[in-house]
Amino acid sequence: MSYLVLARKYRPQRFGDLVGQEHVARTLTNAIALGRVHHAFLFTGARGIGKTSAARILAKALCCEKGPTADPCGTCAICRSIASGQSVDVLEIDGASNTGVDDVRALREGVRYVPAEARKKIYIIDEVHMLSTSAFNALLKTLEEPPPHVVFIFATTEAHKIPATILSRCQRYDFKLLPTRVLADHLARILGSEKIECEPEAVRLLAREAAGSVRDGLSLLDQVLAYAGSETITRERVAEVLGVADRRLLLGLAEAVLKRDTAAALHALSDAVDRGVDLVQLGRSFLGLLHDFEVVTLVPDASEVLDASPEEIAETKKLAERAPRGLVTALFERWARAVEDAARSQTPRLIIEMALFDLCFAEPLLPLGDLLDRLGKLESRLSAGGPTATAPRPGEPRPRLSVVPPTPPPVVPAAGAKAVKDAPPALPVSARTPETDIASVWRRACEAFGHRPAIAAALDHAEVSSWEGGQIVLVFDQKLALDQAARTRPELERVVSQIVGSPTRIALQLGSAENGKALLRSEVDREAEATAAEQRQRESEARQHPMIRKAQELFGTAPKEIKTQ
């Protein structure tokens, strides 16, 4: 009655059968051939990729009547007893059930006795990470210097749980997850020997779902076989059984979204759910498809990057070309958030449906550079229009300007610190009177470009070095900033002319600007100076205070320090 699952039926019996672990097989084979076999091994790696199988093969290789040989015969009495788990000399111990120190002590008792029939006595401890600390420690001495007839093989998925003292006494072999292609080939071979018809696409999908583990792949295959019976295994069938979204379904969904056809998108989703696709899984697969869209548009030869057949890639590409630039990025971001929400929600279907609406309504997300370019073009068109440049900005309500009287010019005309401090808050350029103070001119020019980060950043690197005869010399400390400013010089000149109230040219230079600093100190410097002056003033006031003077007379010494805060 009991059915032997494929993973057990096709358990590798020779090193040559180990798929995807050639590095391990080769090392062990050579070690046996050269007679350099260690007495303690540790096999580690993810689930279902051949650790236990390798341990059994190694046991057979060492004990085979025709050995020790890298290629055990599998037919002698000893090989057969090992394969069926009945050998008295190869003890396979479940480390997770025998975790205690007493189990290890019992094991150590047995180690002393020579093997009954085979050449070696082999202890395979599977899931060894579950041994307790004292159990591990009880093993240490035996593991370091066991009797010559004993070999230990440990297998575990969690090598990090094993004490360093154990690790250092073992030869460690790391098993790797299998690449999808290797796994697909392996599955196809097994299907061949089971004499089952199967589409290559279906095998690929199975291998992808197994995520590198042979046993996972074979479990999934078993599941599909159990469902499909004797029929040919198709991609749709596999998708149906595993509850993953078929690629065609995903493409249909994508097409509906790109056409902004919400009804079609909802129906595609409903179909998928009716076919038993898990919603969150569907969400993740669709996210993967959106990712593929980006990849096929950006990478000329996507077949090296994507895990898909050439036809699938061509199909994806065709659809991706219909999406306007920037749209896919916008879709991806929204969908990614929705999938996360759905995974946590009590009502995943509602979340996913609403996200579909979002996608259908989504506007392309333009790269910032594009937006800046557009804005730049718009501005230059406005400035080319002449008078429009001096007109108030569209957002500014016109009547207000006529009601509010024009701001009076700063009371103190010189470039003093006070004047700057009292300057009125920024107003639209056109609403202000001409400036005569270079510091304010410069500040207002920078403000005028505040909404254009690229230019504003460039101006941050500039110092005003001189202002004479209708020409302002700007000195930049960075080539990059200079270049950026040079590109926008016409605009810069226009804005500055407007602020100054007379045509002004701007010259750009590279280098440090010592005298520029003198001409235009930073706001911080100015504030610091102001505070220092105030401090001095207060100190001298304090010294003049009658009480301080009296104290000075009494103690016959001047105050050492005066705190004004």
């Binding site: 469902y227 909802l266 449906e353």
Partner: protein
């Protein structure tokens, strides 16, 4: 319950029946899916199919073996539950020891581990070898609503049988089987979250009309001219007695808007609350005429956000007020 009688899990049931039929049933299965959708019933159904003496392959539910399985007295069908909040390693060791022997009388022995995600790490590890290679004739079924909490090594050794949230059609069918009217069935289905137990609970509480009345009042408050009715309604429906109904009320409201949205998008066949077609059409019409579908879609989001807020201990009055203010765009045409 026999496998074939389990509603709304056609896939899982078909998979199990075929596997039994073709003799390709894996010795270790993982039944995964949301709470209360029929996983445990299916596990027992599988036991019936495997152990029944009268109708092997499907189970009869009437023979000696079947009856003993159904009342939990069959020596070869062991339904386990966690001993404490977790499965302890001792329980796992008993399974390991028993699974190394032949079944007593039935052709197979079956272990059903309910809430398998409650296996503590030692217990889970202890089962690994048995899950991979049990003594012939032993089957293990792990039942869980949280497969991600199981060790990857366990998941890789078991064959996954997925159970899905019950779909609207299945839910309505179950409700009608229990004698509900179509309107009641639809409301209960909207409240069930795809779970049979919650569906029956909603039917039993018989609060359909009062819940809809609250929904109507909330909408009316949002549609009123000023803000006054909103504050009044929030105060009334979020007070101590009424607030426990709020999650259901908001679920219905969200479902109402969702169905209207689906209707307006031209996929009316996907709407669940067909008995409220007039309401749906009115909302959809309003969305089409006064604003756009995006507003209706935002309305759903507001309601969902409000129900999340309630779950995360936001003051219910505040949550309701905010929701209704946001709903004004749709209900009262206020931007």
């Amino acid at each position: 319950m026999l496998l074939r009688d389990i509603a709304g899990q056609e896939h899982a049931v078909a998979m199990l029946l075929r596997a039994v039929d073709s003799g390709r049933l894996a010795h270790a299965c993982l039944f995964e899916g949301p709470e209360s959708v029929g996983k445990r019933s299916a596990a027992l159904g599988l036991a019936l199919a495997l152990c029944c003496t009268e109708a092997p392959g499907s189970g009869c539910g009437a023979c000696d073996a079947c009856r003993r399985i159904l009342c939990g007295r069959h020596p070869d069908v062991l339904a386990l539950t966690p001993a404490t909040s977790q499965y302890l390693v001792e329980q796992a060791r008993e399974v390991v020891a028993l699974a190394a022997t032949r079944p007593h009388e039935a052709p197979v022995r079956m272990f059903i581990l309910d809430s398998a995600d409650c296996l503590n790490p030692s217990a889970a590890n202890c089962l690994l070898k048995t899950l991979e290679e049990p003594f012939p004739g032993n089957h293990l079924v792990l039942v869980t609503a949280a497969p991600d909490r199981l060790l990857p090594t366990i998941r890789s050794r078991t064959q996954r049988i997925r159970f899905l949230p019950l779909g609207p059609a299945a839910l309505v069918r179950i409700a009608e089987r229990h004698g509900a009217s179509p309107a009641q069935a639809q409301t209960a289905a909207a409240l069930s979250g795809g779970q049979a137990a919650r569906l029956l609970q909603a039917l039993a509480s018989d609060a359909e009309s009062s819940l809809w009345a609250v929904v109507g009042n909330l909408r009316k408050a949002a549609a009123a001219k000023g803000m006054g009715p909103i504050f009044d309604a929030a105060a009334e429906f979020a007070d101590k007695e009424s607030r426990q109904d709020l999650p259901e009320v908001l679920a219905l409201l969200a479902r109402l808007y969702r169905d209207a949205l689906v209707n307006a998008a031209g996929a009316g066949d996907l709407a669940l609350l067909r008995d409220r077609a007039e309401d749906l059409e009115a909302i959809a019409e309003r969305a089409r005429k006064d604003c756009d579908l995006a507003t209706l879609r935002n309305a759903v989001r507001e309601v969902v956000q409000a129900s999340h807020a309630l779950l995360s201990n936001v003051n219910p009055v505040t949550a309701l007020e905010k929701m209704m203010m946001d709903l004004r765009t749709l209900e009262a045409g206020v931007a």
